[in-house]
Symmetry: C2
Subunit: 741 residues, 2 copies
């Protein structure tokens, strides 16, 4: 019976590893350091050569020392010899290393490692065991029934702990450094989000408070000033003329995100992103020092079994004097090119999806504007924004799922040599795709929408419809809607999906196994319990990081148009921490522990994002918001330096006689009066001028001012951020001092 064998093996292992540690540690749950396997072959007993353990475990004293020096900083220097021990995470790592190196054929010794056996399907799976059920009463260390998993569940993974600091030393002890570092990171990120969220809320409150009193909205809503201006139709033929006061409500909403406070907030967030990176480097250095991670993990540098199995060209290695698998240069290049062109194809399909939504937008807006009902006309833009954003959200979520499946396969085709190469390639592919997938619709609205629109009477069309154009007051409102729906929607959906699928999968597995075995109800062994849980692998933190990095993008890239982004991120993360904690404690098999010094490629990606954020924010303020035109108006065109008359100033005149046949509205009347002249938002010469409908001097003024703002903003922020990163040392002074020992 294979199960019995497996359990026999387990006992064997237990004795051996006990011998190595040489000191009884009563408080450690019995099976914490054991690997467990479901054997499907009869010779699995031979394969575990008991001799191997002594040979492999004894030279492992580096780990032993790392444990003692870890104690050092607790000032327990003098008792090190007596109290020294390995954490359960370290023990599981040791056992795994042993399994990795144990030969499974007694004669040759060349075929080693559990990885091959797992890949060949001889073993079903191998994983460290949890140290007990997670539901239970917290018991103090040293007392009988002490179970770290229960402790973690009670003190960390429950909702009621949402405001508590995470028990990081325990997490590290139980799950190992790599997993713990993720929780350090998300905890740190969430903390740093608090001031950003607070300032974001203040910005929003400022917007709300000044909504009614802002001059542009007042002028739009006031019949005597701008409300009665007759506006040109917003689409060709079907749409009619309208009065500016129709967009009164809309203009007030727009003011929420388009006021001087949001500009200040965008500047703040650009600096915040840099500060975050700099402070994180310090935090990470301190954590690495406290956890004694300065000796890096080299297991990622080992040649992948897949590589050894599938590469059949060999090269002589002068160091080891053996022939090693080696992919010829051109083969490698061909594979990378092939895979990357597939990735480009996927990106292209994302673009098509975005374009489809643009077309949807244009059609719907046209339909709604041509409707007779005032209600539809009034809310046309808003309704379109919301529905289009929702469609985008669905597309994004679906594409993400599809691509996730694809990326792993594609990275395999590239034949990465080491696990690190694999992870780097996978990370890059996933990040680029998710980035484009998530942000492309927002980028389109923020920077391209309506930019190519000329003036009424223009005949440039897309599929016979007039180009997509933003409402009076810039595209900032649409960016806001798009961001809000995609960001909040994606997070909520992801959390629910994650939670639900996990539950269902576990239930399904329990149910299936129960049906298969027909074993009368008897208490399951620990390994059976754990086998029912979701699997973990070295990439299982990948999705968590990716989700957070994309969220970081929402928080920094377009924050000028969505000051509430940090708040939503903060709320999401409070939930996310506990959800991830619950997942790791209750729903996943215990992960193999890895020792890593830092968060790896994600750090470079975050740095890149905070760099791009400076660019997007400067362009958003300069181009998407009305900030610059208003400033230019106040300082050059206004009589008294105020914004009075701004709305009238932004509207150019159009002679309705200049409509072509295809653009002329079907209804040339408004309120029963024939319209001779209408207004549209742009800076162009009036119909009477020599150069009618060409861009006016004011346009060039504003254009120059926008560009000057971008140049000044970017250089200033970059200068400040370089100063910051120079002034804040990456390694805290205290750590630096003690490292020199």
């Amino acid at each position: 019976e294979e199960n019995l064998e497996a359990e026999g093996l387990e006992l064997e292992l237990e004795d051996k590893s006990r011998m190595e540690h040489r000191e009884p540690m009563a408080w450690v749950a019995d099976d914490a350091e054991n690997e467990e396997m479901s054997c499907s072959s009869l010779w699995c007993f031979d394969s575990e050569n008991p001799f191997m353990y002594d040979k492999e475990l004894i030279p492992d004293d580096s780990l032993y020392f790392s444990s003692t020096s870890n104690k050092n900083y607790n000032n327990e220097f003098h008792v090190v010899e007596k109290e020294s021990f390995l954490t359960s995470a370290q023990r599981s790592r040791i056992v795994w290393e042993v399994l990795m190196r144990t030969p499974y054929e007694t004669d040759s010794g060349s075929k080693t490692g559990i990885m091959r056996l797992l890949n060949n399907g001889i073993y079903l799976s191998g994983y460290p065991l949890h140290d007990g059920p997670y539901i239970g009463k917290s018991v103090k260390k040293g007392e009988p029934g002490y179970c770290e998993r229960t402790l973690l569940y009670n003190e960390w993974a429950q909702w009621k702990c949402w405001y508590k600091t995470q028990p990081l030393p325990l997490i590290r002890r139980y799950f190992g450094e790599k997993t713990a570092l993720y929780f350090v990171w998300i905890g740190f990120y969430t903390t740093v989000l608090i001031p950003a969220a607070a300032l974001g809320v203040l910005t929003m409150i400022y917007g709300l408070a000044t909504m009614k009193t802002s001059t542009p909205s007042k002028e739009i809503c006031d019949d005597t000033v701008g409300g009665n201006l007759i506006m040109c139709p917003l689409c060709n033929q079907q749409c009619g003329f309208w009065r500016l006061k129709d967009s009164c409500v809309f203009s007030m909403v727009v003011h929420l995100f388009d006021n001087p406070a949001t500009v200040g907030f965008a500047v703040f967030m650009s600096l915040w992103a840099t500060m975050f990176m700099e402070l994180w480097k310090r935090k990470q250095a301190r954590t690495a020092w406290e956890w004694n991670l300065s000796s890096a993990e080299h297991s990622l540098e080992m040649i992948r079994p897949e590589y050894e199995a599938k590469v059949f060209t060999y090269k002589f290695n002068p160091v080891t004097m053996t022939f090693e698998p080696f992919l010829p240069f051109w083969d490698k290049v061909a594979r990378i090119l092939g895979v990357n062109s597939l990735v480009l194809l996927m990106l292209f399909s994302v673009m098509i999806a975005v374009f489809a939504v643009i077309v949807y937008r244009i059609i719907i807006v046209t339909l709604m504007f041509s409707s007779e009902t005032l209600f539809w006309r009034k809310y046309a833009k808003i309704a379109t924004s919301f529905t289009a954003a929702t469609i985008n959200l669905v597309v994004i979520v679906v594409m993400d799922r599809i691509y996730r499946k694809l990326a792993g396969k594609l990275s395999d085709i590239e034949r990465p040599r080491t696990q690190r190469e694999y992870e780097d390639s996978f990370t890059f592919k996933m990040f680029v795709f998710t980035f484009i997938n998530t942000y492309s619709s927002i980028i389109y609205i923020a920077f391209f929408k309506g930019r190519f629109f000329g003036h009424p009477g223009d005949t440039i069309t897309i599929f016979g419809y007039r180009q997509d154009q933003c409402e009076n007051g810039g595209c900032l409102f649409e960016v806001f809607v798009q961001l809000g729906i995609i960001m909040v929607g994606k997070q909520v959906f992801n959390n629910i999906y994650e939670f639900a699928t996990m539950k269902i999968m576990i239930w399904w597995r329990v149910y299936w196994r129960a049906r298969e075995n027909f074993v009368p109800q008897q208490p399951n062994t620990r390994w059976e319990e754990d086998y029912n849980l979701e699997t973990t692998d070295s990439m299982s933190l990948f999705d968590e990081y990716l989700e957070m990095v994309i969220q970081f993008g929402f928080v920094t890239l377009f924050v000028g148009s969505f000051p509430l982004a940090p708040l939503f991120a903060l709320l999401n993360n409070v939930v996310e921490i506990r959800l991830d904690a619950y997942k790791y404690v209750a729903q996943l098999r215990r992960p193999l522990t890895y020792r890593v010094q830092n968060i790896g490629a994600w750090q470079a990606i975050l740095k890149g994002l905070s760099f791009v954020a400076v660019i997007t924010n400067s362009f958003m303020i300069a181009y998407t918001s009305d900030f610059i035109p208003r400033l230019v108006y106040m300082y050059r065109y206004s009589k008294d330096g105020s914004l009075e008359g701004y709305i009238n100033n932004t509207m150019s005149y159009f002679d309705t006689a200049d409509f072509t046949n295809t653009t002329k509205p079907n209804n040339m009347m408004l309120d029963g009066v024939y319209v001779n002249q209408c207004r549209y938002q742009d800076y162009r010469h009036p119909p009477g001028s020599d150069e009618k409908y060409t861009l006016s001097l004011q346009y060039w003024h504003i254009f120059a001012a926008r560009l000057a703002f971008v140049v000044v903003f970017e250089h200033l922020v970059m200068f400040i951020t370089s100063l910051l990163s120079y002034a804040i040392p990456d390694i805290p002074r205290s750590v630096q001092g003690d490292n020199s020992k």
Copy 2:
């Protein structure tokens, strides 16, 4: 007699270290591994406790292993045991470490290290010896009379070797890794300069070839088109009107640096700088791998003796359980602030010097323009440029010398804890100062000169003189003169100065010692010979790096106006390599060897420079050159898309009746005719217009175009450079593979 003692000590040491190596190495010169000291106290013999060597040298097997693994890559794996040896550089390092740690009081053992003895003046100095005179015949390894120094001199340090590859393994063996890495770097930099220099020359040739045919110069020189235009006076009162053709020669010279080719070259150089950094990282990684430098040198992290001697506040260190010197936080802050305000003061004095030269410029130009002689009027600008640049050069060189003396003292006042802290602080101070000192006059000319000039009747003055203004055709020519003189002048001066002072100092010391000792002519011992040479310390490479980094700045920052910069840099470096080589082989005491992994802070500084270069180049093309105005003219204002009529288009009209009393020229006649209207280079409304002398629409067009160019150029180049740095892995594939062993 102390000399005897010292030599006795030398013999003692020799025996001991020989014993350690255990294998006779006949081909190594006898005294290569010995430290030598001039004792000035009688108890120096006791201090060298022979017991210490065994204790200290035996655990040094890491060095031993590094030597064997170094052999590995030569495929001599199987003979490692027999052939293993330490290079002379490694042996001198070992001996130094021993000296550093040997206690000099036999009872307590707490007072250790030669550093304290040197600082107290008990020893005069301590240094590794050269292995023989440098002049001699090259002898093959293994033959009698083999001397690495002679070999280096003959094969590397002589002028006739200027085209040869440097014998880097030998340099490393003789001088150690830190010095060798400098030569690797300068060699690499010089090689990479070749394509840049070639392209720069081509750019210059293009300029020369098109000089006569370029439309703007042709129009300026042609009487029928632009030559006869009456130009407004270039200064107030004294200057008279002049005809545009007077600046004909000048406009042709300007064309040399202000043509489309230089724009292309500036783009190329921005990318070149990035490529240089990326390729250098690879080269460095490869070198570190070949030289087995992956285990970093920690000697820089040791607490400086100065710190221990001068800091009297102590803190308890929980790790070592001892009280250690520790500077309180506020004391540290006060020191840093104090020192940095002094640095700011120095920078301020640099600014004053630059300003003084500006005033000089204005006065001279005014004087020359008011001269009656046509010759002076014609060459006024050029002559002023040359003399002003020369004055700037002198100021720069003098300030450099003064500041160099100051910076070391200032860094000492800051009380850096470790040698690394000291070096970082010193490097930063020196670099910032040298940067500002060298480039500020160029930056002024390139970006500020003449920007605040209004139009001829303006009354804004500096000390009663009209503002500094560039000649028709932009300030690019003046930047060229300034750059050329400062760059070439500084390099030539530095090389001569270095060479000459070194020679004189050595001669002086030999002469002085000869007079002092009155010893009859007898052959000097090796250590006496070496004592006469210049001293070396851990900072002796600093000046070399600084010089090269400032040169890198010349090559990249303003290359748009001086395409020959890479060529001059290349020529200089070819000389520099051999000069430095000669210095190290013949004029300096043999330096202590250090093992370093990389070029340290210089890498970050170079990266920063190549970043700044993108910004300066984009602004220089956009603002300083005439590139953008010409493009705008061609695409918007020209009738046939050519540059014809450009010169006339750039000149605004001025009504001479609008001169104020202070600005009106004394002579209102030109060639006997009263001048009613004159022209000046700017885009302003003509006198007849409503808004006379205010900036015209074309000005705003060009202004917007300039800014747009900056934005597009910077983002494009940054995007390409990030792509490049992503695509080029920092560590070559082959090295990566073999590191995983």
